[in-house]
């Protein structure tokens, strides 16, 4: 017990409007230990991480309990005392380094600022330490890397530089808030390894916050499972993964291994070709983003397009939707040529191809009620007005599993998963043949995403809709897609039946991609890294 570097007792945090976010959480962090905080969004993970630094985001305050960092209570000490500890003895690694670095300053200026400000090192010492960290973190040209501005380095490099920023004062404790979530899988694996090795090398303690069990399994010694601002259970990583005591933890663990085993409703598969993309090139300005894309999608089928950011998968979706006319090639829909721009597509064609977006918050007009959002395509495409419109809205809500009283709510009063269901209902209202799903589950918590996938699958069984499923998440692909297309740098690398692709990928790139998906097994990271 005496070796605890951080001890949180009965911590309560409230917003400035009096809503309590944390209802008395307690945890201990030993020296050199990595403690994982896991849970869905809204569970209070980040709030705990920031409270450990005596900081509240956007007016949040610590209203009860204590935060003992190396014997000093950050909840009750003065502001000056808190500021003296922050950055120096406990430091923060944010989810999005791209947003967390100040765009106006060079990296080195930001990294050596804290040690100089706190008077912990001379400028020469701080620089030397920064270069050592850059080297440990595998950054290119560590001597001069700091001369760059944040926008001049890649996302993976910036995330590593963020770790250097946090380690600049040689703190006792690091708070890592989803440090790899914004990265591509292949980048994540590299950052994850360096992160873990760096923390171990300098014997730093860490609070590691994430919603991804498989990621945390690779780095954490112990786990705290959180839900609704309360602790669900705490235990060694191995025990939580293999023998969870609480029902909620069991659901979290089993979701990772879940699969929608039943094959899609074969009844609707006519084998007829619905969408055909031939030799399509596309550019943004002068930069080529797609080259020579050939793709065929059959009626009632789900085709997944996977790839890392920059692979052109979303651009392909935009080409099919008519938002970005291709610079070369043809797109045909249901046997007839599809006009390149949506502006030249007739009302019926527009109706038959619908799009669902990644961020339901942005895709819904905040001033329109659910009934208005869903009712608009009904009146435009089917001419339904008044009572008939209302009845159809309620039928659709029932179909997507939302209660009828949701109809008159504004999007602000819905959860993320509910909003995405409304977006699906809005697409269904047009009675489409093809729905393009662009990362529709990426912004959702795992258990909610699971529900959305089940819903999409059921709708396909019932209505025979064809899906073009754009995603970077291979576990989603495995559960939903009949066929999978792998894209890299604007080209199709490989295309196969999903089962075959996962069992025997033909291309090295696909193999790398598949191997990069984190597994629940805590030994996975080491096994991947030692594999040839």
């Amino acid at each position: 017990m005496s070796d605890d570097i951080l001890r949180i007792r009965d911590l309560r945090v409230s917003t400035d409007t009096g809503v309590e976010l944390l209802h008395g959480v307690s945890l201990e962090l030993e020296r050199g230990e990595i403690l994982g905080l896991i849970g869905e969004s809204g569970a209070g993970k980040s709030t705990i991480g920031l409270a450990a630094m005596g900081y509240g985001r956007g007016g949040c305050r610590i209203t009860g309990g204590e935060v003992q960092l190396a014997g000093k209570d950050l909840a009750s000490c003065t502001r000056r005392e808190r500021e003296a500890v922050r950055g120096a003895r406990i430091a923060y690694v944010a989810q999005s380094a791209a947003a967390a670095f100040n765009p106006a300053h060079r990296l080195e200026k930001q990294i050596i600022e804290a040690p100089l400000y706190h008077g912990l090192m001379t400028e020469a010492e701080a620089r030397a330490w920064m270069v050592e960290l850059f080297t440990a973190l595998g950054l290119p040209e560590p001597e001069t890397f700091g001369r760059r501005f944040p926008h001049q380095v890649s996302g993976g490099q910036l995330q590593r530089a963020m770790v250097a920023l946090a380690m600049a004062c040689k703190p006792d404790v690091l708070v890592l808030d989803e440090p790899t979530t914004a990265l591509d899988v292949t980048t994540q694996i590299e950052v994850l390894r360096l992160l873990r090795d760096t923390i171990r090398k300098y014997e730093t303690s860490a609070l590691y916050i994430t919603h991804d069990l498989a990621v945390i399994a690779q780095v954490a010694d112990r786990l705290v499972v959180l839900r609704h601002g309360q602790e669900v259970e705490t235990g060694p990583t191995q025990q939580i993964l293999t023998a969870p005591r609480e029902d909620y933890t069991r659901r979290l663990v089993s979701e990772r291994q879940a699969s929608l085993s039943a094959p899609a409703g074969a009844a609707h598969k006519t084998g007829q070709e619905l969408l055909r993309v031939e030799e399509v090139d596309a550019t943004y300005g002068k930069a080529p983003v797609l080259s020579g894309i050939d793709l065929s999608v059959k009626q009632g089928e789900t085709v997944a397009i996977v790839g890392e950011s920059g692979s052109g998968k979303s651009t392909l979706a935009r080409v099919v939707a008519g938002l970005l006319p291709p610079s070369r090639g043809r797109v045909a829909f249901d046997g007839a040529a599809l006009p390149p721009s949506y502006r030249r597509r007739g009302k019926d064609l527009l109706r038959r191809i619908q799009l669902i977006y990644q961020l339901p918050d942005v895709a819904l007009n905040p001033r329109q009620t659910v009934a208005e959002a869903i009712g608009r395509p009904l009146s435009r495409f089917q001419g339904l007005t008044g009572g008939a419109n209302r009845a159809e809205v309620l039928r659709l809500l029932d179909q997507i599993g939302l209660p009828a009283e949701m109809a008159d709510r504004l999007p602000g009063a819905l959860s993320g998963g509910q909003k995405q269901r409304v977006c699906i209902a809005r697409a269904l209202a047009a009675k489409p043949d093809l729905i393009i799903c662009d990362e529709v589950t990426s912004a959702l918590d795992p258990l909610v995403a699971e529900d959305i996938l089940r819903l999409l699958r059921r709708l396909q069984d019932e209505l025979g809709i064809t899906y073009l499923f754009i995603t970077h998440d291979l576990s989603v692909v495995k559960r939903l897609a009949d066929r999978t297309v792998v894209m890299q740098k604007g080209r199709i690398v490989e295309e196969a039946e999903t089962d075959r692709l996962f069992a025997a990928p033909a291309q090295a790139y696909t193999r790398g991609l598949l191997a990069s998906v984190p597994q629940l097994d805590p030994g996975w990271l080491d096994s991947v890294l030692t594999a040839p």
Binding site: G87, A100, Q110, Q152
Partner: protein, 319 residues
Amino acid sequence: MLTLIAKRAVLGVFTLWLVSVLVFAGTEILPGDVAGAILGQSATPESLARLRAELGLDVPALQRYAEWLTGFVQGDMGRSMASGQPVADLLWPRFWNTMALAAYAGAIAVPLAVGLGITAAALRGGIFDRVSNVAALAFVSLPEYFLGLLLVLWLSVKTGWLPSLADTYDGMGLAAWFRATTLPMLVLVMVTTAQILRMTRTTVLGVMDQPYVETAFLKGLRNGRVVLRHATPNAAAPIVNVVSFNIAYLITGVVLVEAVFNYNGLGRFMVDAVSRRDLPLVQAAAMIFGGVYVFLNMVADIAAIALNPRLRHPRGKEA
């Protein structure tokens, strides 16, 4: 980045040309003409026609525009129709008067307003923030001639500290000039400071919500340092914009203040020229005003480009 700046400069020249078209077209459709204004009641159709021919008003508008523009580009602004003197001789002294007053007010208002705005943002919600906010709102909402009259009442009529009229003349001493122009300067400072202050505060506060400001706080930095080092550099471009907008106002929008203090500036000059239908004077003054606006906006845009680290240090090039 240089290409961007060059593009912006070309756009500025193009805008200036558009201004010239509008100015010329605008003065063309002004009711009445200078011949009518000069001859007044005694005009007969014959004498009007003779005077028009004399003044060159019978030539087609397009041709007059071409001649006027080529003359203007070469610095020849034509002659006043009313007095026959070269426009340049009449206009430039007034222009420098206006510039002197604008410089006097701007040199005080800009640093004051930006400083107060940043301070208000740093002390968000505190007494200083609230008082400066209310005061700024009051100054923005009071008409400038009313502010001017209030100042005259207090600082001139009641106390006799400063002269109520800003009479300036050639060869007056520097001290006398400052004394004469301090009252109009104060009015201008109040009005512009209020606007720049509010805009600076809003912009800096907008940046304060950015994640990198949180990063700075989590380094344990004090509030003042976070505001100055981390928030303000990222708020610079909008601040430069509102500053240049206000300087443009100081040069082109001060006709009321000039009237209240009887100051011999370009604004009153133009109003007088309009009432006399002295088109060359009106056109020249309008072009000067348009040019000042276009120039200052261009400077603001170029500053915004130059202040953007993404454009200053493009990707792929080392430091």
